[in-house]
Amino acid sequence: MVGNKNKVLKLSTAGSVDDGKSTLIGRILYDTHSLTDDKLEAIERSSKQKGYDYLDFSLATDGLVAEREQGITIDVAHIYFSTPNRSYIIADTPGHVEYTRNMVTGTSTSQVSIILIDARKGVIEQTKRHFFINNLLRTKEIVVAVNKMDLIDFNQEKYNAIVEDFQSLISGSDYQDQNITFIPVSALHGDNVVDKSENLAWFKGETMMEHLENIRLEDIQEEAKARFQVQTVIRPKTEEFHDFRGYAGKLKGGELKVGDDVTVLPSGRKSQIKSISFFDQQYLSASKGSSITITLMDDVNVSRGDLIVKSEELPKESKSIMAKICWMDNKPLEAASTYFLQHGVKLVKSKVKSINHKISTDTTGATEKVSQLNMNDLGLVEIQLAQPIHFDAYDENKGNGAFILVDTKSNTTAGVGFIL
């Protein structure tokens, strides 16, 4: 079972306490035997004290509960569990109305999103926002968990009505490439979370964990062109590797092979890939996600932040970009303000030329003229850059189409952008 640890699936969840999100995560941890004895004992003790005749699994994520009770800033927390099949990482983002920023953060690092719906309430504002953000970030795999089925007597018609409601959201969305799976569950009692439920015998689909276990990584990976941004230049200056000049980075999208004709940007110099290595081993090719070191046939000048791409797959080049921005800082974004724009690992001075409009985060996508973007606002902006960057539209390559804006004074990460 340990041999499979190379496989990791990153999930994100959002929703409020009332949706039963903590309970759902706790239930997953419990039913996959991921809770240690010490934690289980604490849950049993506390459930008893509260006079419950069931186990209160929300306590498994009690760090968050305590936080909420104390009223301090709510943030993204990471939860880990594994099955014999693979490891899972949950980015748990508490989802009150104002936490768009956290939802974007949690969703940005995950491959699968779980949208939680309270079966008694159906599709609400919060559901729409969460779905909208998943569309904005182009999350390919979405699981809609209709929770608290026990409280609507596991009623199939009511469940179907919720699914239908949600489907009308899908038809209005600008991103149609998703796999959306609906699953009725009761996290509290464990129906259909890990184990099949007799109460939901009418439901013929997989349980939530069955579904997650069967998601194939190759199905949800984005098809994108190879983009290799250099993080650091490796020059050993030892006798054995005297002339070695390696470019270290993590390949975003596609595949690179030894012998590929490549272009280095921004210089535009052309060369061929001479070698691809990972640690002390040489390889013929590497694909998306690998942290490799490559060398080139010619002695061209390459430095940190430079982009190496296949010569027949050049990205766009511009000193002016249009992007959707999610604002994350207390200090609002205003036109004419300057920020460092970090595109991958490259830092460029930038100026917000104009805020075209604010975008509503429900699925209507309605726009509104504004003079500034506040924290948790989403908007369309035009940005002017001091030097050109080499990018793809976010839709075409997530890694090469996203950026952050860094405040030049406080140094904080003030916003995240998705290039059109």
Partner: protein, 300 residues
């Protein structure tokens, strides 16, 4: 020649983080305790910069209560990889009267390390300290960033952390600030052990089952080493076959009874274990109790 690089997402991510440290900071350092997590860090750093050697020195805050096996291991590793090692001794700080030694039954120097660390950072001007902490270790850690900014006093402002979106790491800081970097944030204890197994890495012998003179207290097994570990007269020393799951100081690390004499058996044991690794850390027990108390106040 191999065909295609095999992806290992956790390893690729850690290497990416190491390379960002090299790209964004002037004076990074790897915090090295001789434990399995910091040994794993060194391995990942080696992979990140090969064939160049690791471009950062190591920093060890030596409490003086280490297991001798750990120190021997540390020195051997440093020599093999031709690394620079800085050692700061908690004892020096005690002698200088900067910190006071704890007394009593549970005395440990664990808490005293912080002062020595901050002094080392200031003395050498380190702007990035790379550590082997993992998010699965503890609830507060579950919320820490990969690049975690500390102010001039080394403090973590958990309520005001920079969002980390996609894989973009923002390490911009003002003079005097520093960043704690956690490349194996997303690894679990089992991930670390499986990696040690897969990479056939050397680790200190105390991680494997061995005979040791120990005594029991509060249901935990303590190393009988009277020089460092306080022991009541009625706490009898016995010989047991034990191993350590984490390696801290002798005065704050409990042993577990185990017959796992090699790495395969250790991995099996961890995979089947139903107690978290911090269950064997006496220092963590302390803070667990404190956290529990806070929790109770909040709940009831």
């Amino acid at each position: 020649m191999n065909e295609k690089v095999i992806n290992n997402p956790l390893e690729d991510e850690a290497i990416y983080i190491f390379r960002e440290v090299a790209g964004q900071f002037d004076k990074p350092v790897i915090l090295f305790s001789g434990g399995k997590d910091s040994i794993t860090l060194v391995r990942l750093a080696q992979k990140a910069f090969y064939p160049a050697k690791i471009p950062f020195p190591l920093l060890h805050i030596d409490t003086g209560h280490n297991f001798p096996e750990t120190i021997a291991f540390r020195d051997q590793l440093v020599e093999e990889l031709d690394l620079e090692l800085h050692v700061h001794y908690v004892q020096d700080n005690i002698d200088a009267g900067n910190v006071q030694e704890e007394s009593g039954k549970y005395a440990s120097r664990n808490m005293l390390q912080t002062d020595s660390l901050l002094q080392a950072i200031e003395k050498h001007g380190f702007d990035a300290c790379i550590g082997g902490a993992r998010r699965d270790e503890e609830k507060a850690r579950a919320k820490e960033r990969v690049f975690s900014v500390r102010d001039d006093f080394g403090q973590w402002d958990e309520k005001n952390q920079r969002p980390e979106v996609f894989d973009m790491l923002n390490g911009r800081i003002d003079f005097g600030q520093n960043v704690r970097v956690f490349p194996i944030s997303n690894w679990t204890e089992l991930d670390v052990w499986s990696y040690i197994q897969k990479e056939k890495m050397e680790i200190p012998s105390i991680y494997f089952a061995h005979k040791r003179k120990v005594f029991e207290r509060d249901g935990m097994i303590w190393s009988a080493h009277d020089e460092y570990v306080f022991r009541e007269d009625d706490e009898l020393v016995v010989e047991k076959i034990v191993r350590f799951r984490t390696v801290g100081d002798m005065s704050c690390t409990a042993a577990v009874e185990s017959l796992a004499f090699d790495i395969d058996k250790v991995v099996e044991e961890i995979a089947a274990s139903s107690i978290s690794e911090r269950g064997a850390r006496i220092d963590d027990k302390r803070s667990e109790a404190a956290m529990e108390k806070r929790k109770q106040q909040g709940y009831f």
